[in-house]
Symmetry: C3
Subunit: 671 residues, 3 copies
């Protein structure tokens, strides 16, 4: 990311929340502001869902309440993260223009009554939204309270894929710009098969429901189009703001386990600061590892620059099948893990728990139970700590390991017809990341094609779709002395979703020194034995090595006797290949071996419960900061010298981190 | 329920069935009537699905066949329960008026070809149906054979929730009547959140499918509206009948485990007699306990008055995944359990098993196998017993325990975004009822706000939605000396689905002496240990007592150390709170303890297999009747003096009830 | 099947594939043809999805490429199986005529973008398709390369059931032709129930989605109509071809486990040769047993005549949840099992693996890995064997056992409301067939009503729907000395889906000597003990014998004490009845007992792993051929004299068949 023209410049680490004062009376607002100050809140996002309040009838704007709120916050010294208010259109717009409503794959509409009920390609919606942005930005663009612009909200959370006629028209336009000729499009999508050749642009539709399976090239381009379409929408809002305001602009990403529709690599450069919403997903086996991954990816989107955690929760959410409260201390650990991994802001959804509406069972800083509650006390405690560690702001995380991540591979992997429906892209990324995380290694998440020269180890999990040039960056880096691990299903297709023939892993094949003939996925509940004693699942392959050494083979299953783990010397470096999904302990052992050969190691050595302590170093202009997050119930120890910011105590030699605690050490003698 | 103006006055206990003679020839009718007399059938529901027969073309009525059937039944001394025939519109109506067809949430229609394919709000449908009712009621309103009017059939079984434009218009009308102003509606639904504020009544739609979650206030009111809309439809039919007939009127409710859309508390006063359809649901762990609950609730709807079991089955139904036949003797046990719990009529669907159509694999009194069959022999046996126990008719069930039940809580609990999708309202009611049932306690099911002065123990399971006044009835009753058990998730929201803040259980909080800060649901397959040795599931909470005693705490899980069972002295009474779902044996133990303190006990002491014998007392003007239903295979014994009606033997002292048998003792010396 | 007017006359066993050259350049075509010759390919299906290539714009035909391909194949001596090219309409047709698109049950359309997106009843589609057929058949009808016409492709695979208005009109026409009067239709469907009587033909719709359950008679007739409608479409294409070509005509059936919509019994007579597509279904417990069944049924459709395996795979498919590659040798075993069971052609989908499109992960003869691969080497090996066994062509399989199979029973069994949703028709057929297969018995699959005089044993699994005359053929054959096993749910309904009353099994009842009163299905995971020590599942019944002997009774479950297996002497024969689903080993034991009494035995005795060796005899004019397929890893042995075609070695006495191998012995002294 280029240095933004309008950097976000908050003093210290921001501490804040979404605030939806429309739900409350002015008396409550005053209580809220008093309590915000008690908790140390200094950045508040407002007007997120303000449209129907600010423009109660088409063209009639009423800013009285918003003026009042902003002025009260400003008076209290609280900075404003100002929403453009366009996230959910008001009822009057859907009534007068039902064509803005999203259309599902089967041609049925989705109706108002929730939120985000608009087609990303609707010109009518866009025009109405931009009128609102003009009005809001015009009014508050120079307001001294406003520190950041918050465009819309969680763009694409629900409405990323729309199949209506407006979307069809926009999709055609996008395709014409991309391919210029129908011949090029037909070639890219492989329409020669199944008699799908297009003879006229107007024959092309979004990939609506078919009675059979859909064209995967069309599906892939529709994903790209849909991401671009919302980015184009974001740019339109941002342009409108920039015309009248110098305040930095962003929107809240959703780098999380269950949202996949936006390719944030292509979005990031448009943000003045990266912001992310993150909620623990208790459907996963290790939610806090996913948190760390999401934080590292958020940082990666900004190419290492500090970012803002725009939303997370003090406790349960309301949209998972089972919504768990946080354990004692978990608010603190979650928050400071984000900071450890580069966040310069810690915000929550939302300030005061709703008592009505869809999110009334979503936790908040001020819970239904009020201030006489454990949650409130932990919030206040956290606010104090955030305040004390302000000096960390602006420092950057150090990492020796890179993990290559790609939304395009996500989309291409999880298409309709494929070797195994049990194979998920993010699952494979999480498995590889989880092994690195368990080893205490700090990881930068980078896009395909990124410069890798800063790293000692590169991990490429399931990079199904890869361009020749992107693969070459990796193999050239290996040849230049790097150590990489590539895992199965990588290098299967190119950017047109076209199989690289001649043996799978295509453009990685020579560097890996292996030739894969057939995929042999196994049932999700089956296990595979490897010759090195490891246990694996999900996948195997029939292959033979050309130049690689076999580190382990399949002992059983449909690829018995074939290589499972190989290592190939490639130029001055080493290319490892993993043809299956090892169980977590075995995956960690494998990566420990590779990491040792690559000479990468954790930010510091911790003595204590294995795999349960996170350790990350942020380095600033003047000092470095070692973050230690102890997720276990046991104490951990490390050797450090400096000053511990959470407890406000000197660190001299052996530092103990009690079970459940977080420590942040300003290190002396940092390089 | 006020005393009905037109009471149902059958001699003895009615024994009957649905009869669909349209399926058969007149020769079969004669055989049917002969066999009905053999079985003791004396009440037959006809014309349930008669519309296409009685009005084969729009406006052309043909009563020849119906005249004939009624006359044959009348000649045989069989009373008629006459359907208005409107349950399923004929094909000609849907063809000329497709706008009567129901619309699903996603805007797609549901087509003719099944039954009940009509929108409850369709003015076209209603006009056509009332023309039919006028014709039928006009013709038979004074016919001496007609003992009861049967309006439509299982109203709302399939079509309760319709999302079409007619429904939208009716919903708006209902809302205008309820709220008068849009401000009031916006306040009630919390539309200030997510930019949902309505500025015009015409912007409001039914809660059609959205791409996100829907407004819970809107969902709740749509449930209320949908129930009211069908009630309004019922009233329209009943009004048409009353204009020309003095015969009592009812419709068959579906108080059962899988139908939730009608709030029968609001319907009951309109019925001249409560009638219910009940089928064992083998998807439940204990189908016969649910039967007992449904029977008690049916009685509760009539405020204790006798009611009619309008449909049940002699064996398998056809609509569950697995349709089980009944065990030997089960027809008798099921039927007499309903009578024990207040039914003055026992009817079956249907007389003769269909050989075609959707219900051809639904059991009947006369099965496909014919009269040389176990089912037929048990039907005839039952008919004889029903005949012998006629003196029971009119007596009323005695109960010391009340259970508070609420359809509104059902709807509000099972909304879209909530702490745990695994939490079902009826499940919690069943769990509490099951514990009482296992203790042999007779339970009256009452609505929130009901007078509780007659009871010694009140159980309030998961009463999620409660009005302040409804809660006050309960807490005042406790203060006046009562003993109550309130279970988790009770008192969470008010009638607007708005959270009661300050600690959950809201209006029960002070009486319970406990303050709940956070819900901590657990996965459905996890178990929780309590400090008293009990095991529990599904739910826990983080709370602290204010004035209550802790009876048991959570030993593990996300609320370890927090109270699980508490007891609070409140005025002259005792308020217990249960923060989790104990396993059945532990739930029973807990309620045994509470019941003992409350001084409530079974109708009689039975010696025999624990928890497998039901015992209920009905008390009439001249005698009391003790029903004993032995569900086990072992004999049970009790001490009683009087006359046993099933066997026709005196009961003097020790009465034995063989395994699988039912005994009904007219008690001497009854108070 | 009558002897076809235009028999398929390939020299030896055809070896071939689908070839979709539109995906490749002419340079690749030349490489392909060279490799086809290397593999021994001599029959290639082309133009399957050719429409958009041959008619790129409406009415503009361009045959240049197809001319070129045919001419190159012809020059190489490869015969052409020429597709009419109508399987998937081009994009221009759906754009100008969206009314051709299929409609789902709920009234939503299914869109272009996959394949087969056309309504079988669309007159617009049919006219356009026939214009194409006229053009293709006119151009190539006399081309010397063309050996077979391939009409469309897998007709009905996706689009068999369409609910649009065109389908509604066609359904009405079909019904008028079938029933003549509405009275007859109303009677057949039992519309007297639920007020469904039709007063006008135009009131009738396809069985679109209802809010309740649909009329089962309507569903059954809609299945029949839908099968007939596609057959009518097939005939229209075939008629157009016959007008200008003498080459035989067929289409590729899908006799397989997951396709049920076409009643191929009614289609078979229209085929000049039966052709089938078959893929192993790894969702089944025993995919290769299903393969054998499908092959036997394919042969049965041609009444024993040789048929063509038109598609199968060299490895994984792409449409199952988990797509498994084949084990070493499995391509050979699968292929030769089809030949053993009557195939005179072995073809694959497809020649060269796609690199784009929906089927790019479907295996092919020439895999992505190229010719340096195990798959390619096995393909070449198979081609050599197929070439060597050419003399087998034209011979016919010998079988002593008949199994009665019915698509109508499939449809009627798996309707909406029924005793158990866990009961599948094909499952029961597979279970019975699997027991026979494990015993090594060769089975002819025959339609209800077929002449049984050639057989020693007849098995009638779950023949739910049976006409009186069809049942009489079976019971008369038993009376004449035959031995039959009838299994539960047989004889339940007649051709109108009307229950045969008086005790289930209706028209089989007297011959079976048993009277069934009630079905008693059990949960899929429950097991039942039988009195003979067997274990069973899924089903039991309450019945009593009239004249039958009880061979085993239910020990537990809902029919404890009732008969489970009975045997009745009926005339000169024996009628067995099975009221449950025994576990495989017990099913095999039961059928072994019955087979022994019936005097039927395998084609030869094999010594080796029990149940893992298939043995089938084909008898030609001049010799007989014994096929032995060893699915186990152990060797098997048998005694035979003659010449073994696979190894090219004499067989004299003891012949060993190594684990995984196939042997084909030309027998000397064959009877």
């Amino acid at each position: 990311m280029k240095v933004p023209a309008r950097p976000f410049a908050h003093e210290g680490i921001a501490f804040g929340c979404d605030y939806n004062p429309e739900q409350w009376t002015p008396e409550v607002w005053d209580e809220d502001i008093t309590l915000m100050r008690e908790a140390g809140v200094d950045l508040v996002a407002i007007n997120i869902f303000g449209w129907s309040h600010v423009e109660p009838r088409e063209g009639e704007f009423d800013f009285a309440r918003l003026d009042d709120i902003i002025s009260r916050l400003h008076a209290a010294g609280i900075r404003v993260n100002l929403g453009t208010g366009t996230a959910s259109p008001p009822a009057w717009l859907a009534r007068s223009h039902p064509e803005i409503l999203p259309m599902a794959e089967d041609g049925t509409r989705r109706y108002p009554g929730g939120r985000q009920a608009w087609c990303p390609s609707s010109p009518v919606f866009r025009a109405a939204a931009l009128r609102l942005v003009d009005a809001v930005a015009g009014r508050y663009g120079s307001h001294p309270a406003v520190e950041l612009w918050h465009v819309s909200n969680e763009l694409g959370c629900h409405n990323a894929l729309c199949y209506c006629d407006d979307s069809a028209a926009a999709f055609r336009g996008w395709l014409r710009r991309k391919y210029t000729t129908l011949d090029a499009l037909n070639d890219a999508w492989g329409t020669a098969f199944w008699s799908q050749t297009y003879g006229d642009w107007d024959e092309i539709l979004p990939p609506r429901a078919t009675i059979s399976t859909r064209n995967p090239g069309q599906l892939l381009d529709f994903h790209r189009f849909s991401s671009d379409e919302l980015l184009s929408y974001y740019r339109a809002e941002a342009d409108a703001i920039r015309a009248v305001s110098d305040v930095p602009i962003t929107t809240n990403f959703m780098v999380t386990a269950h949202i996949e529709n936006l390719d944030y690599w292509s979005w990031a450069a448009d943000m003045d600061v990266i912001a992310n919403d993150h909620y623990l997903d208790h459907r996963l086996a290790t939610p806090t590892v996913e948190l760390a991954f999401a934080a590292d990816l958020s940082r990666g989107l900004g190419r290492g620059a500090p970012w803002i955690l725009m939303e997370h929760s003090t406790g349960a959410v309301n949209w998972q099948p089972l919504n768990k409260p946080k354990a004692h201390g978990e608010i603190l650990r979650n928050s400071l893990t984000h900071v450890a991994r580069g966040a310069d802001g810690v915000c929550f959804f939302q300030w005061r728990a709703s008592v009505q509406g869809s999110e009334k069972f979503h936790s908040a800083m001020l819970p239904h139970a009020g201030t006489d509650s454990a949650v409130w006390r932990e919030v206040v405690e956290l606010g104090g700590i955030v305040d004390r560690i302000g000096e960390v702001a602006g420092s950057r995380v150090e990492a020796d390991v890179a993990l290559v991540f790609s939304w395009e591979s996500w989309w291409a992997t999880q298409t309709e017809s494929r070797p195994s429906q049990a194979l998920g892209y993010l699952d494979q990324v999480h498995a590889a990341y989880g092994a690195l995380h368990a080893l205490g290694l700090t990881v930068d998440v980078v896009p395909p094609g990124a410069d890798l020269s800063a790293y000692g180890l590169v991990v490429v999990p399931g990079l199904h779709l890869v361009r020749a040039g992107e693969a070459a960056v990796i193999t050239d880096w290996i040849a230049a002395g790097g150590t990489a691990l590539v895992t199965f299903y990588s290098g299967t297709v190119d950017e047109k979703d076209r199989v690289w023939t001649g043996g799978y892993t295509g453009p990685f094949r020579d560097a890996l020194g292996i030739r894969i003939e057939e995929f042999a996925p196994v049932a999700p509940d089956a296990s595979l034995a490897l010759s090195d004693g490891a246990t694996a699942r999900l996948w195997s392959e029939r292959s033979r090595t050309t130049t690689a050494e076999i580190e382990a083979s399949f002992v059983d299953g449909p690829a018995a006797g074939h290589p499972a783990v190989t290592r190939n010397t490639w130029g001055g470096g080493e290319a490892w290949y993993l043809a299956t999904l090892p169980d977590p302990a075995d995956y960690r052992s494998l990566l420990a071996r590779i990491a040792e050969r690559a000479g990468v190691r954790p930010a510091a050595e911790v003595r204590g419960p294995e795999g349960a302590v996170e350790i990350v170093r942020r380095r600033g202009a003047d000092a470095s900061y070692l973050f230690i997050v102890n997720h276990s119930e046991s104490d951990a120890e490390l050797t450090a010298t400096g000053f511990e910011l959470v407890t406000g105590m000197p660190a001299a030699g052996c530092v103990s981190v009690p079970g459940g605690a977080v420590r942040i050490i300003r290190e002396e003698a940092a390089a």
